[in-house]
C-alpha cells in the first residue's frame, strides 16, 4: 500500500515547509498550488522512531511547563552567577532565526485544512457517472478492485492529500519531540555564541598585535653605516661602487674647437636656411659659437645646436635665458634639467614649432606666476585689505578697492588664445597674456590698457588701471555736475592730472581755493580738500553710500563750503545768526528761487528784530538779501518765532565788479553796509509813500570827486529824490514859501561809526539831505555856519545845503527831517535878527546858538536847541556867576519855548530891554549883602516886584513893561509904581509916602514921574530904581520895630498877583504874556511851582552870588 503510493507519487520536488507556510499565510491563495507529496517513507520511519525515542526519554516533566524559552535557564544562570562565570549573551534567542514552534504548528494545521478543502472541491468536480449504472443493479459489495476511472482518480487524490499532510504532521511531531529538551539545547547555543565571540576577539587581538608591530617599524632607527662612512671619508672612494672603467676623451685644442664651432655654425646656418621650417616667432635668430640663438622679444632666448650634419636629426637644447624682469637670475639645475628633457622631446617630435610652443607657454605661465607672487607681496604691504587676489589655474584676478561697498572692480590677467577674428593679419595665432577689466562688475571693453610685459610689475599695472578708473569716475562726475548747473553760472568743474593723480576741481568765484575731489588710489575712497566740516561730511557720505548720486552731493558742496566761509567771517564780524526762525514753507516763493543753502544773520544790534541779512548759496554764486522779518506764532515750545516776510536783493558790489567777489570780511561788511542803505531807503520810501510825498529812487555810483573819501564811505547804494515842498509842508500851517529847489536828494551813508571806529555797536545810521537854495537865501546863516564847525549842517557859497541825519536804523525819520528843516529856517531867522540887533553871534549851529548881547561887561547867552521834536530849548547865560539874566533864566526859557514863530525876536528884545533893570537889581542887592532888606521877585521876564523889609520901611514896588503905541512906532516902557497904591487901606509911612510922591513928580531924560508911577525906558528904569532905592533907604528905622505885616504881605503877594497882572498887564506885556494867557491851564502846574520857587529860593540865590 505505501509502496504503491510511493510508486505513484514518485514525482520529485521536496516540500519546503517555509513555502507552504507562506502559502498558508495568504488565505486567498488556497488553490494556488497542488500539494505534492514528499513522501519518503524510509525517513518517515526513522523519524517516527526518533521522536518516539525522545518521547520515551521522558524529557523531564519540569520542562513541559516552562513558560518561556530561556527564562528558567536565565534564572538558573543568574543564581549561579555568584560563584560561577558571568551570564552568557542570550540575545540570539529573540532574533529572527529562533522560530516559535506554536506558530509553526498553527500554520501547518491551517495549511492542512485549506488543502483538504481544495482536494474535496477537486473531487466533486469529477463526475462519477460511470459508476451510476451499478447502483440500480442491486449487486452486493464486491471485493474486486475498483475499476471505475473517476473513482480511482478520486481515491488517489484523497490519498495523496492524506499522505502529504501526514508527512508534515509527523515532521512537526519530530520537532515537538526535539523541543522537549529545548532548554538545554538553547543553553548549548548560548555557549557556542559566546565562543564565537571569543574567537572573533582573538582574531582582533592578533590583528592589533600585528598592526602594532608594523607601526613599530617607523620607530626603529636604522643602524648607521659607520664602516662605509669611514671608508669614504678616509679614502675618498667607495670601493663597493663598481668602476666602469671608461677612458676620457682627448681634449680638443683651441684650434680644433674653433674649427668645430665654425663647422657647426655652417651646418646650423645651412640647416636653418634650407631645411628647417622656422616658426613665425623664431624668425629672429643668430648663429654663433656653434649654436643658434632664437630670440623672442620680451620672453626668452633659447640656444639650440645640432649633433649631426644630417638635417633630419633633431636639434638639441643648450641654454635658455628669460628676457623679462624681474626673474630668477639663473635657472637652477633642476629646472634646467627639467626643461632640457622636455625641450629635447619637443624638438625631437615636433621640431622648432614644438620647441617654441612649449617655451612660449612656459614663459607665459612663469610671468603669471611672477605676477601672482608680486600681488601676494602687495597684499602684505600698503595694499593690505584693499586688494583681493584670486589665483586660478592660469590666470590672476586682482580685485582692487576691496573695502568699498557695492559692486566689485577687478582685473583679470590671463592667457588668451590669440586667435584673431580677422583673417587679414598674417601672423599665426599664438597665446599671449591678456587683461580683462571690470569696473563695478561691468566689463570694460575697448579700453586699451598699457601694461608692460617686459618689466613685470603688478603694482604699476594696478596703478595704471586705477588711474584710468579714477579718471572715468571723475569725468563722469564732472559731466553730471555740469548738467545740474546752468551754463551761465560762474561755477567751474574740471578734471586735471596733478602729479599722477586725477583731480576733479570745483571752483566758484567766491571760493578762495577750488574744492578738489580725489579718489584715493589704494582704497578707492573719495577725499576732498581743503578740509572743512561740509567736505568731511560729504566725503563720509560718498564713501558710505555707493548707490547714492555723488554728483548731486558734490554739486552742493561748494555752496556748503562758501556758506561755511561766510559763516566764519560773519562770526569774526560778530554777526549773529537769526534765532527763533520758524520753519516756513514758502521760502522758494519769497526768494524767487529754489534754496539749498541759506543763512540769515543779524549783522549788528542796529538791525533790530525786524531786519536781517540773508544769503543764499548756489552754484551761480551767492546772493545777498535784506530780509524783513515778521513775528509769527509757532507750534514750538518757546511760543513765537519769526518768519521772513519779504526779501530784497542786495548787490554785494556795484555792477561790473563781480569778478573779485569773495567771502572776505571786507565783502561781508560792504554787503552789510549796502544792505543797511537799502533797508533804510526802502523804509523811508515806504513811509513817504504812506504820506503821499512824491519821491523817486536812484542808484548812485561813486563819482570821481569822492576819491578822497574813505573807502568805507564809498558806497552810495541808492538815493532818494524827494519833493521838497511836500516834505516841508507836512508840518507847516499857513503860509510858507519854499526856499529851496523842489528836488531834494537824500543819500545814505551807512552806520555811524563810534569813536572806537567800529560800526558794530551803534544803532544809528547816517543820511545826508542835500538841497539847493533859491538864490539869495540863507546868506546870514551861511556866514555863521561856516565857522561854527557845525557838523550836521553845511552850506556852500553856491547855495547848496547839506543836512546830516543820524537816526536809528530801520526806522523812518520824516518827522525829524521836517523838524530839522524847520530848525534851519529858524536859524536863518535868528541870524538875521542878531544882525539887526547888532548882537555878536558866537556860535551858530543846529543844536546851539551863542551870542553876545552886551559888551562891557561881556554878557552872552547860549541856547541849546532840542534834538527831539518835543524837547525844549535851554538857555545858559555867561558869565556864569554874575550874568544879571540868571535871575530870570527859567522864565525866559518858558517864555521862549511857549512862543513859536517870533520867539527869538522877542527873546532878543527882552534881553536888551531887561538888561539895565536887572543890572540895577544886582547893584541894589549888593548894597547890603548881610541884611536882607530888599527882596526882588521876578514875576515874569518883564514884571518884577521889589520889596523892602525892616529895618527899612516895609514897602513894595512893582516894575513892569507896557507897550506904548505912537502912530506907527511901538515902544516898550517900564512902569514903576508902588504896589500898595493900588490897594486900599495900606499906607506907607507918611514921610516915605511924601518922598515918593515927590519922586513921582520928578522927571529926567530917560524917565518921567507920572504922579503915582514912573514911566521909563530901559535906561531910565535903572536910574529911577536907583533913586527909589535911595529914598527908601533914608527911612531906615531902628531895629525892634514891629514887623507883623511882613508875613501877611508876603502871603498876599501871590494872591494879589493875578489880579494885578490882569489889570495892569494888558497889552503891554506883549505877546509873551498873551501867549502865557493862552494856555494858563496847561502851564499852571509848572508855572505855579516855578513861581513859588523863586520866591523861596531868592535868598539862596543871593547868598550864592
Amino acid at each position: 500500500m505505501p509502496g504503491r503510493l510511493m510508486d505513484e507519487d514518485a514525482a520529485p520536488g521536496s516540500l519546503d515547509l517555509k513555502k507552504d507556510r507562506s502559502q498558508a499565510q495568504g488565505a486567498s491563495h488556497q488553490q494556488a498550488l497542488p500539494v505534492k507529496s514528499p513522501a519518503d517513507t524510509q525517513v518517515n520511519g526513522t523519524t517516527r522512531d526518533g521522536p518516539n525515542g525522545v518521547l520515551t526519554n521522558g524529557a523531564s516533566s519540569e520542562q513541559t511547563h516552562t513558560t518561556g524559552n530561556g527564562e528558567p535557564s536565565n534564572m538558573a544562570v543568574a543564581t549561579s552567577s555568584a560563584e560561577g562565570p558571568p551570564p552568557l549573551d542570550q540575545s540570539w534567542r529573540s532574533r529572527e532565526q529562533n522560530k516559535s514552534l506554536g506558530l509553526l504548528m498553527n500554520r501547518v494545521a491551517q495549511q492542512c485544512y485549506f488543502d483538504l478543502n481544495k482536494t474535496l472541491d477537486d473531487m466533486s468536480a469529477i463526475p462519477t457517472a460511470p459508476s451510476q449504472p451499478q447502483l440500480p443493479n442491486g449487486v452486493g459489495p464486491h471485493t474486486g478492485p475498483d475499476t471505475s476511472e473517476p473513482s480511482v482518480k478520486k481515491k488517489r487524490m484523497i490519498m495523496d492529500f492524506a499522505n502529504d499532510q501526514r508527512d508534515r504532521f509527523i515532521k512537526t511531531l519530530v520537532l515537538s519531540d526535539w523541543s522537549r529538551n529545548e532548554e538545554e539545547k538553547a543553553r548549548m547555543i548560548d555557549v557556542k555564541v559566546w565562543l564565537d565571540k571569543q574567537t572573533a576577539l582573538y582574531r582582533q587581538a592578533e590583528d592589533a598585535v600585528a598592526r602594532a608591530k608594523m607601526n613599530m617599524q617607523q620607530a626603529k632607527v636604522p643602524n648607521p653605516n659607520i664602516e662605509g662612512a669611514m671608508e669614504v671619508l678616509a679614502t675618498g672612494k667607495a670601493s663597493w661602487v663598481p668602476d666602469l672603467g671608461y677612458i676620457r676623451p682627448k681634449k680638443l685644442s683651441a684650434k680644433q674647437l674653433l674649427k668645430t664651432m665654425r663647422d657647426m655654425n655652417v651646418i646650423l646656418g645651412t640647416r636653418l636656411s634650407l631645411h628647417e621650417d622656422l616658426p613665425f616667432y623664431f624668425r629672429d635668430y643668430s648663429i654663433a659659437d656653434g649654436r643658434v640663438t632664437f630670440m623672442v622679444k620680451d620672453e626668452f632666448e633659447v640656444d639650440l645646436s645640432v649633433a649631426d650634419e644630417d638635417p633630419a636629426t633633431q636639434l638639441y637644447f643648450i641654454d635658455i635665458r628669460l628676457s623679462f624682469e624681474p626673474t630668477t637670475p639663473v635657472l637652477d639645475d633642476r629646472i634646467r634639467g627639467f626643461l632640457e628633457g622636455k625641450i629635447n622631446v619637443q624638438l625631437a617630435s615636433k621640431g622648432l614649432q614644438g620647441c617654441y610652443d612649449f617655451l612660449h607657454n612656459f614663459v607665459l605661465t612663469h610671468k603669471l606666476t611672477i605676477l601672482q607672487d608680486q600681488a601676494t607681496e602687495l597684499t602684505r604691504g600698503k595694499w593690505f585689505d584693499c586688494i583681493k587676489i584670486e589665483k586660478l589655474r592660469r590666470s590672476l584676478v586682482v580685485q582692487y578697492w576691496a573695502g568699498l561697498p557695492g559692486p566689485k572692480s577687478w582685473i583679470e590677467i590671463g592667457i588668451s588664445s590669440g586667435k584673431q577674428t580677422t583673417t587679414s593679419i598674417r601672423r599665426p595665432a599664438t597665446p599671449h597674456i591678456s587683461v580683462r577689466w571690470f569696473q563695478r562688475s561691468v566689463e570694460i571693453k575697448g579700453e586699451k590698457l598699457e601694461f608692460d610685459w617686459q618689466q613685470l610689475d603688478v603694482e604699476k599695472c594696478l596703478m595704471h588701471v586705477i588711474e584710468r578708473h579714477t579718471a572715468s569716475i571723475l569725468d563722469d562726475l564732472r559731466t553730471r555736475i555740469c548738467a545740474l548747473v546752468p551754463a551761465d553760472a560762474p561755477f567751474k568743474a574740471k578734471v586735471s592730472d596733478a602729479g599722477g593723480c586725477q583731480v576733479l576741481s570745483l571752483s566758484l568765484p567766491s571760493l578762495r581755493q577750488p574744492i578738489e575731489v580725489r579718489i584715493e588710489p589704494v582704497t578707492g575712497q573719495y577725499s576732498i580738500t581743503p578740509p572743512s566740516t561740509a567736505s568731511l561730511n560729504i566725503e563720509r557720505r560718498l564713501n558710505n553710500h555707493p548707490t547714492a548720486d555723488p554728483a548731486r552731493w558734490l554739486a552742493g558742496l561748494p555752496c556748503a563750503v562758501v556758506q561755511d566761509q561766510v559763516f566764519k567771517q560773519a562770526d569774526l564780524l560778530r554777526w549773529s545768526p537769526v534765532k527763533h526762525l520758524v520753519r516756513q514753507d514758502n521760502l522758494t516763493a519769497v526768494f524767487g528761487e529754489k534754496l539749498q543753502h541759506f543763512s540769515i544773520f543779524t549783522p549788528s544790534r542796529a538791525w533790530s528784530d525786524d531786519w536781517a541779512l540773508a544769503v543764499t548759496f548756489s552754484l551761480q554764486g551767492e546772493k545777498w538779501w535784506a530780509a524783513e522779518l515778521e513775528e509769527r506764532r509757532s507750534e514750538l515750545p518757546n511760543g513765537t518765532g519769526r518768519i521772513i516776510k519779504k526779501v530784497t536783493p542786495v548787490d554785494p558790489a556795484p555792477d561790473g565788479q563781480r569778478k573779485d567777489i569773495s567771502t572776505s570780511r571786507d565783502t561781508l561788511s560792504q554787503v552789510a553796509r549796502r544792505a543797511v542803505g537799502d533797508v533804510a531807503v526802502s523804509t523811508l520810501s515806504a513811509q513817504l509813500k504812506g504820506e503821499h510825498i512824491p519821491h523817486s529812487m536812484q542808484k548812485v555810483f561813486p563819482q570821481g570827486d569822492c576819491e578822497g573819501v574813505e573807502r568805507h564811505d564809498r558806497i552810495f547804494p541808492t538815493a532818494l529824490f524827494i519833493s521838497f515842498s511836500k516834505l516841508r509842508k507836512g508840518m507847516q500851517r499857513g503860509k510858507w514859501k519854499p526856499w529851496a529847489h523842489e528836488a531834494v536828494r537824500l543819500s545814505h551813508h551807512g552806520l555811524v561809526h563810534d569813536a572806537r571806529g567800529e560800526g558794530v555797536g551803534s544803532k544809528q545810521v547816517r543820511h545826508d539831505l542835500r538841497l539847493s537854495l533859491d538864490p539869495g537865501k540863507f546868506k546870514e546863516l551861511h556866514k555863521h555856519i561856516q565857522n561854527s564847525g557845525e557838523r550836521d549842517l553845511a552850506l556852500n557859497p553856491h547855495g547848496g545845503v547839506a543836512l546830516k541825519f543820524i537816526t536809528p536804523f530801520g526806522q523812518p525819520f520824516i518827522k525829524k527831517m521836517r523838524q530839522r528843516l524847520q530848525t534851519v529856517e529858524q536859524l536863518d531867522q535868528c541870524a538875521n535878527i542878531l544882525k539887526q540887533r547888532h548882537f555878536v553871534c558866537g556860535h551858530l549851529s543846529l543844536s546851539r546858538l551863542q551870542f553876545t548881547y552886551h559888551t562891557t561887561p561881556e554878557l552872552s547867552v547860549e541856547m541849546t536847541f532840542p534834538t527831539e521834536a518835543e524837547g525844549i530849548t535851554t538857555l545858559k547865560f555867561h558869565p556864569h556867576d554874575n550874568n544879571p539874566h540868571r535871575r530870570v533864566k527859567v522864565m525866559m526859557e518858558q517864555a521862549f519855548n511857549a512862543t513859536d514863530s517870533k520867539a527869538f525876536d522877542i527873546f532878543t528884545h527882552t534881553l536888551s530891554l531887561t538888561l539895565p533893570v536887572l543890572q540895577t537889581f544886582n547893584r541894589l542887592e549888593a548894597k547890603d549883602p548881610v541884611c536882607r532888606v530888599i527882596a526882588i521877585h521876578p514875576r515874569n521876564t518883564t514884571w518884577y516886584s521889589i520889596a523892602y523889609h525892616p529895618p527899612l520901611p516895609r514897602c513894595t514896588f512893582t516894575l513892569r513893561t507896557r507897550i506904548r503905541r505912537e502912530g506907527e512906532d511901538t515902544s516898550v516902557k517900564w512902569i514903576i509904581e508902588d504896589f500898595h497904591s493900588s490897594i486900599k487901606g495900606q499906607n506907607l509911612p507918611e514921610e516915605l509916602n511924601t518922598a515918593m510922591q515927590e519922586l513921582y513928580k520928578e522927571s529926567a531924560e530917560h524917565w518921567e514921574g507920572m504922579g503915582s508911577a514912573i514911566v521909563a525906558d530901559a535906561q531910565g528904569a535903572a536910574e529911577a530904581l536907583e533913586k527909589l532905592d535911595g529914598i527908601v533907604r533914608r527911612f531906615e528905622s531902628v531895629p525892634g520895630q514891629p514887623q507883623a505885616a511882613e508875613s501877611t504881605q508876603q502871603q498876599q503877594q501871590p494872591t494879589d498877583l493875578p489880579k494885578g497882572t490882569s489889570q495892569s498887564n494888558g497889552q503891554a506885556s506883549g505877546q509873551a504874556n498873551g501867549q502865557a494867557r493862552q494856555n494858563p491851564k496847561q502851564s499852571k502846574p509848572s508855572t505855579s511851582s516855578k513861581s513859588s520857587k523863586p520866591v523861596k529860593q531868592e535868598p539862596d540865590l543871593i547868598m550864592l552870588d
Binding site: 526518533g50 509553526l104 483538504l116 484523497i158 509527523i170 520537532l175 523541543s179
Partner: protein
C-alpha cells in the same frame, strides 16, 4: 490563558496523524456502495462538523480530522517553545534532529578546546612580551610589570 505544553500538542498531532492514516486506508479500500459511513466518519462528517460543530462534536468527540485540526490550532497558539530555524530546515530535509544535536555538541566542545588553547597561548605571549619589553625598554619596566600582573600574568 495558561501556556500549552508539548504533551497537549503532541496529543493533537498524533490524533491528526492517525486520522490521516485512516483516511488513506479507507480510501484505498473504498467501495462506493458498501462503506459510505466509515469514510464519512473520517472525512464527510468532519465537513459536517464544521457546519454544526456543537451538534457533531458531541456525537463524535475528538476523532475527526477537522476537529483535531481546530484543537491543534487553538492549543498551539499558547505554546511558548521556540526552536532554531536551522533545526526546522534539518527536519525539513528529513534528517534526524538528534544528529543535529550531537553535531552541535561536538562543535561546541571543539570550540571550547580551541578557546582554552588560545587563552594559554596568549597568556604565555603576554609574559614573553612583557619580559622582552622590560629588558628592551627599562624605563617602563614598572609599568609593564603592573600591566602584566593585572591581566593575570606572572612577571618578575
Amino acid at each position: 490563558m495558561a501556556a500549552a505544553t508539548l504533551d497537549d500538542v503532541d496529543t493533537h498531532l498524533r490524533a491528526i496523524i492517525s486520522n490521516l492514516y485512516n483516511l488513506i486506508v479507507q480510501a484505498h479500500n473504498y467501495q462506493p456502495p458498501s462503506q459510505p459511513r466509515a469514510f464519512t466518519a473520517e472525512v464527510y462528517a468532519t465537513s459536517l462538523n464544521i457546519f454544526w460543530p456543537e451538534r457533531k462534536s458531541n456525537k463524535l468527540p475528538r476523532k475527526e480530522l477537522i476537529n483535531n485540526l481546530v484543537s491543534l490550532t487553538k492549543t498551539s497558539r499558547r505554546l511558548p517553545t521556540h526552536i532554531p530555524i536551522e533545526l526546522i530546515e534539518y527536519v525539513e530535509s528529513t534528517r534526524n534532529p538528534d544528529i543535529y544535536t550531537r553535531e552541535f555538541v561536538e562543535l561546541v566542545m571543539k570550540y571550547n578546546q580551541q578557546q582554552k588553547g588560545r587563552m594559554e597561548a596568549f597568556a604565555s605571549f603576554r609574559d614573553i612580551l612583557a619580559e622582552q619589553m622590560m629588558v628592551g625598554i627599562p624605563e617602563i619596566k614598572d609599568d609593564v610589570r603592573r600591566v602584566a600582573n593585572a591581566s593575570g600574568g606572572n612577571v618578575a
